[in-house]
């Protein structure tokens, strides 16, 4: 129990109150003189932390720039596998979450406790939608074998990848979280505690939002395949050498065509291409003169997907981290802890959240919109 002696605030309040000429409220740590000093410290600390985040991500942007500059054709080829509609939706979702987060800060400053919980809940929900959509994207790619580096499976036209249930696997943890949140919500209604209701409500909603994201993602993915499926008749095939820098859109379409070819047998078109070998009729003479290296392989496209997974993966980890701290804020907000003298935590988490959005603002065009 001696440990308690050392945890500052209670000890301080109990024993050493005479040190101070003014009241030290519970939200003001003992080593700060006043609310503003505490706020300024926290804020500078957060900005410095954001500096470390910026430099942390800069490593991956460096790798991106390096390889894009070296192999632009790889990036064009691979970008066509990314569904820009999903990327755009996710951008919108994150921007909206930034709006609600900024609004949450305002609510905290104005003691609008109810609104604050709502805004934080909305931010959390958006984060969950984002992750849901991302799960669809990831699982879709894994099924096609669009894996990082060494594990990249060269793409065959018309091949659809087997159904491995990756999406279901990605949904396991969110499902568990949802069940837990639901149980908590039931509990909070049972004991009629407004505080617990205010916490469990947003949490459950956010957990469900993940599945909204999943359905949204799947719907759009299917739609994309349906509309572009007919593009197939171009007989473009993606594994043609040196032939990817025009019309990459159709290649994407080709790869995405949903013909439920779950088997691994190469599609006829591909077979034709195979026999066609070097005399590829779809390559115009200018391109033939300067043959470009085949990009559809682990040393080329694999590298792009490495970068793609590293960047988006680390970003997703940041989203998850953000969700954890936002949940913590919801608890504090439901306890009505924030006011115009003490809103630092909301403000600082907000800064962090906007930075995560900030990074995505760059990732989206750099990864999805290469033409």
């Amino acid at each position: 129990m001696t440990a308690i002696q050392d945890t500052h605030i209670p000890n301080h309040e109990a024993g050493h109150a005479d040190d101070h000429h003014h009241e030290h409220p519970s939200w003001l740590a003992h080593h700060f003189d006043d609310a503003e000093q505490q706020f300024d410290s926290g804020k500078l600390g957060m900005w410095l932390f954001l500096v470390t985040e910026v430099l942390f991500f800069s490593g991956m942007f460096c790798a991106y720039a390096l390889y894009r500059n070296r192999n632009p054709e790889v990036f064009e080829f691979c970008s066509s596998f990314l569904n820009e509609k999903l990327g755009a939706i996710n951008t919108g979702v994150l921007l909206f979450s930034s709006l609600t987060m900024a609004w949450a800060v305002r609510a905290a400053q104005l003691r609008q406790h109810q609104l604050l919980v709502g805004m934080l809940g909305a931010t959390l929900g958006c984060a969950a939608i984002f992750l849901g959509v991302k799960s669809v994207e990831y699982s879709h790619k894994w099924e096609l074998g669009l894996l990082p580096g060494r594990f990249y499976v060269p793409q065959i036209e018309g091949h659809h990848g087997a159904h491995h249930g990756y999406l279901e696997m990605l949904c396991i943890v969110p499902a568990i979280v949802t069940v837990l949140c639901a149980a908590y919500a039931v509990f909070s209604w049972a004991i009629k505690s407004t505080f617990h209701q205010q916490v469990s409500g947003p949490l459950l909603t956010a957990a469900l939002c993940f599945f909204v994201g999943v359905f949204l993602g799947q719907y759009l993915e299917a739609q994309e395949e349906a509309t572009k499926g007919h593009a197939n008749h171009h007989e473009h095939h993606m594994s043609v050498q040196g032939h990817i820098d025009h019309d990459s859109h159709d290649h994407a379409a080709a790869s995405d065509t949903h013909e439920h070819d779950h088997g691994s047998a190469p599609a006829p078109v591909a077979a034709v291409a195979s026999s066609g070998g070097s005399s590829d009729v779809y390559v115009d003479s200018k391109e033939l003169a300067t043959p470009k290296p085949n990009v559809n392989k682990s040393t080329m496209a694999g590298l792009f997907f490495s970068i793609y997974y590293c960047m988006t993966g680390v970003h997703a980890v940041h989203i998850i981290g953000g969700m954890i701290v936002i949940s913590w804020l919801i608890v504090k907000a439901a306890r009505h802890e924030f006011h115009e003298q003490y809103f630092g935590p909301v403000d600082n988490v907000g800064l962090y959240w906007h930075l995560v959005d900030f990074i995505w603002i760059y990732l989206f065009p750099l990864l999805y919109l290469i033409t």
């Binding site: 001696t2 040190d19 800069s58 991956m60 580096g149 060494r150 490495s306 970068i307």
Partner: protein, 558 residues
């Protein structure tokens, strides 16, 4: 918070300079009161024990290396083990000892006191950095026990991707990642503390130079360490997922790895040396009883070193296949950053000039620092020059260079600092005579170990080799003898410190005559640092500080 003054039993001390019966060490009791403490002084002490233990571990590996190299072949380690031993020596010394040594241990203890505040801005974060450090330590020990890491402390690709010791690479890179964040959070905490918590009167230019040094160090920690984080993260992804970004087999670019690594690791050498320079500035003025010469120049040059240190990382890569243009640019920039370091050396010499030098243990370490650091810095120049580095790169010349700056510089300054502030931290005086002996043995042993290595290197002895040509044997044996001497000197230093805890005299408030704020609080300090407000004055104004024979310490004339 009360400091209970009690009349003293020991004769010769006045009651005015009595010793606190209640201080941070006995403020609360039990293991948990340390493990969960938020007190920067306790965290600093825990770091001190931690980094010293890591140093002992790394030192054991070093002695294993030196003993192995006694004969030019058939040493007692297998080639494979040799690779593991030098890797662990380097990695432990760099990541576990030297980077946290001064900032996290001494800095944590002293920064709030010197600044006149109760604690750092984020005490919880401070404790968390300590536990991150512990986590990193655990992972390093795991790397050691899994199989032994054999990549060298630099983890260069592609070897680190291909080596059999995959588990060890993963454990160690994860350890480095965690240690990096420990270091970042310490730096962040210090920057915020200095920016927002300075008490009235403590303007920027009244801060002790040690704080300027810690501030510049923190800037580097915050800016450079995240890049190390992403580098080792990508390296572990390389091993786990085969991402190929640094792997030539997958069309990746291993030279890029070196850019990433040195973008951190060159600034990191300034993380190591800047705090050491800060300590020397304090020691020089206090033990010469004379205001520091060129305060502003020293302060500015710390910041300059921190910022310009980011411009030269390429000098570690001259032979890696980097482009000629870049090599020339980096070489030229390397020469410019040595200027601020030289400025400091001149300032310290200027401080000693016409000072009343007390040749006690801390001062001897400080003098050793100036001598050794100057050699280390000067030998950096031939390494930074493109043409000569082609010859010196990856030889013992480089090994000697960085040991002169890291060990002769940082470690020696760290020891000087530990001796200097030991009375403040523990409330006990150590045996100064034995301390002086330890400093002399360390100095002699150090030079005996590393001077021969300059000669070896310039004659072509490559680094990281388990065997060598017979003609190098005499110099290697000299070096081994030196390392044993050095080891015994360090052991003596440790014994002197530990002995003081048992039978040391109680320390007065201000045993050396320092003018900075930490000497105004009791030894050891109370839980909240100051029982009454310190008056912030010029930290280097010694004019009204005089020796008080009764207390055995110094007092401020009213």
């Amino acid at each position: 918070m009360s400091v209970v003054d009690r009349p003293l039993a020991s004769p010769g001390y006045s009651e005015a300079d009595s010793y606190p019966t209640h201080h941070f060490l006995n403020h609360s009791h039990g293991i948990l009161s340390w493990a969960l403490t938020l007190d920067h002084k306790r965290i600093g002490l825990m770091y001190l024990v931690g980094v010293m233990s890591s140093f002992a571990l790394g030192g054991l590996f070093a002695l294993m290396i030196r003993i192995h190299l006694w004969n030019f072949q058939d040493g007692w380690l297998s080639n494979k083990t040799y690779n593991q031993v030098f890797t662990l020596h380097g990695a432990i010394m760099v990541f576990l000892f030297i980077i946290p040594s001064i900032p996290a241990a001494l800095g944590n203890f002293l920064l709030p006191i010197m600044l006149g505040t109760k604690d750092v801005a984020f005490p919880r974060l401070n404790l968390m950095s300590f536990y991150l450090w512990i986590t990193g330590l655990v992972f390093f020990l795991a790397a050691l026990s899994i199989t032994g890491l054999d990549t060298g402390w630099t983890f260069y690709t592609p070897y680190s991707i291909d080596t059999q010791q995959g588990g060890a690479v993963l454990a160690a890179t994860f350890g480095v990642f965690v240690l990096g964040f420990s270091s970042i959070f310490t730096g962040l905490n210090f920057i915020v503390t200095i920016n927002t918590m300075r008490p009235p009167g403590m303007s920027w230019f009244r801060m002790p130079l040690f704080l300027w040094a810690l501030y510049s160090t923190s800037i580097i920690q915050v800016l450079a360490t995240p890049v190390l984080g992403i580098t080792v993260l990508l390296l572990s992804a390389e091993r786990l997922l085969g991402i190929g970004i640094f792997d030539p087999k997958l069309n990746g670019d291993p030279v890029t790895f070196q850019h990433f690594f040195w973008f951190y690791s060159h600034p990191a050498v300034y993380i190591m040396i800047l705090p050491a320079m800060g300590i020397i500035s304090e020691l020089m003025s206090v033990h010469c009883h004379k205001g520091i010469f060129g305060y502003r120049m020293i302060a500015y040059s710390s910041i300059a070193i921190a910022l310009f240190g980011f411009l030269v990382w390429g000098h570690h890569m001259f032979t890696s296949g980097m482009a000629d243009v870049t090599a020339v640019v980096f070489s030229a920039l390397t020469f410019t950053v040595s200027i601020p370091s030289a400025i400091k050396v001149f300032n310290w010499l200027g401080t000693m000039y016409q000072g009343t030098v007390s040749l006690n243990t801390p001062m001897l370490y400080a003098l050793a620092f100036i001598f050794l650091f100057t050699i280390g810095g000067l030998t950096g120049l031939p390494l930074g020059a493109l043409s000569t580095d082609m010859h010196f790169h990856d030889t013992y010349f480089v090994v000697a260079h960085f040991h002169y700056v890291m060990m002769g510089g940082t470690l020696v300054a760290f020891l000087g600092g530990v001796f200097h502030w030991w009375p403040k931290m523990t409330g006990r005086m150590f045996n100064d005579k034995l301390g002086i002996v330890s400093a002399i043995i360390v100095f002699v042993g150090f030079n005996l170990t590393f001077l021969p290595q300059f000669v070896l290197g310039s004659r072509g002895m490559p680094r990281r080799y388990a065997t060598y040509l017979p003609e190098f044997q005499p110099l290697h044996q000299l070096s081994t003898i030196g390392s044993l001497t050095l080891g015994s000197g360090l052991l003596l230093a440790l014994i002197v410190l530990l002995m003081s805890l048992v039978n040391g005299k109680k320390a007065p408030r201000n045993p050396w005559g320092g003018a900075t704020l930490e000497w105004e609080c009791a030894s050891p300090p109370p839980h909240d640092n100051f029982s009454s407000a310190p008056t912030v004055g010029d930290p280097y104004d010694f004019s009204n500080i005089e020796y008080d024979g009764k207390t055995g310490g110094y007092v401020k004339r009213a």
